[in-house]
Assembly symmetry: C2
Homo-oligomer: 187 residues x 2
């Protein structure tokens, strides 16, 4: 739980007393490789803060083809946020790519902590700001016309993911074939 405190205090200073209050709202979970945290059709009760490991948020179209919306690694929050915030059924999956640990909590916790503690409202706002900017980059990457541009943008933004993820998964994220990706790697 000290990790949670460090994570919050990168953005907002909180007192010992405040942290003692915040702590019990979060629970920890170990996640094995390939394990699902959210499945399409689920009621989405939780959002997850990644302590370690890598996770992919993706959806599957009517033809069974998989599309990766985002990756999440240490210090990222993740959920099917449309479903989480609007209390709808999940339209996406979250699956573990590299084993690790996550903290999780509910929408009610997020809203309660934000409402009771200005610092927590600030914390969540800053995290959303970062997430919003990252998504704007993701959209630009998807719009990029050539596989080469997508690959370059990705390797600049997430050099560690480029090292750690299986090529198959990166190819899916970039929306290119494995052959194309191999060609880009060898350049």
């Amino acid at each position: 739980m000290e990790r949670l405190r460090k994570h919050i205090e990168q953005i907002a200073q909180i007192s010992d007393q405040q942290f003692e209050y915040i702590k019990p709202f979060f629970a920890m979970k170990r996640v094995r490789k390939n394990q699902y945290l959210i499945n399409e059709g689920d009621e989405v009760k939780y959002e997850f803060l990644v302590l370690s490991g890598i996770y992919k948020v993706f959806y599957v179209d009517a033809q069974g083809k998989e599309f990766i919306v985002q990756f999440a690694q240490t210090d990222w929050w993740m959920s099917d946020y449309q479903a989480f915030f609007k209390k709808q059924q999940a339209t996406m999956h979250i699956q573990c790519v590299e084993e690790g640990e996550v903290l999780f909590s509910t929408l009610e916790v997020r809203e309660q902590l934000a409402s009771e503690l200005h610092q927590m409202e600030h914390f969540f706002r800053v995290k959303l700001t970062n997430g919003y900017v990252a998504q704007q980059q993701r959209i630009k990457l998807l719009l990029s016309s050539t596989p080469q541009q997508r690959y370059e943008a990705f390797s600049k933004l997430y050099p560690t993911l480029l090292q750690r993820l299986p090529k198959k998964v990166i190819a899916e994220y970039l929306g290119v074939s494995r052959e194309t990706l191999s060609r880009l790697y060898s350049k």
Copy 2:
């Protein structure tokens, strides 16, 4: 400025006195069709709240091809947020598609109001939450494999934009040719 108050109070209640304090931090601007609010390479000082009109946020690649990242209409905030938050040069343009009015303010204003008034921190957090969810939808739309799926997702999410925007602009947003779009319209 009453529009600003209504906009804030859809999310957070503020007193008359608080609104009198907030008001002078925002300025109003009329925008003509085709006018630019941000140009690539600009220092991005402002974010904009749309009171009326339609705007497109887009970038241009090395070959001069235009890619629309998002549209903005009434009650949406817009900027090149990467550049705005990180005080970098703009990598995107914002241009008016249908004339209207916007309010604008700076990053310093956003941070000051959020820090001084818990309600404003809450207001900005909720707006970011909505923007984050909309972007997750935009990413899903871009990942969709067929033009038909993209078109259907767009018309479900933004029926009014479908009516009001030129077909050329919609085709750019969906990343399909005008001919393909016409075929989808006629279905």
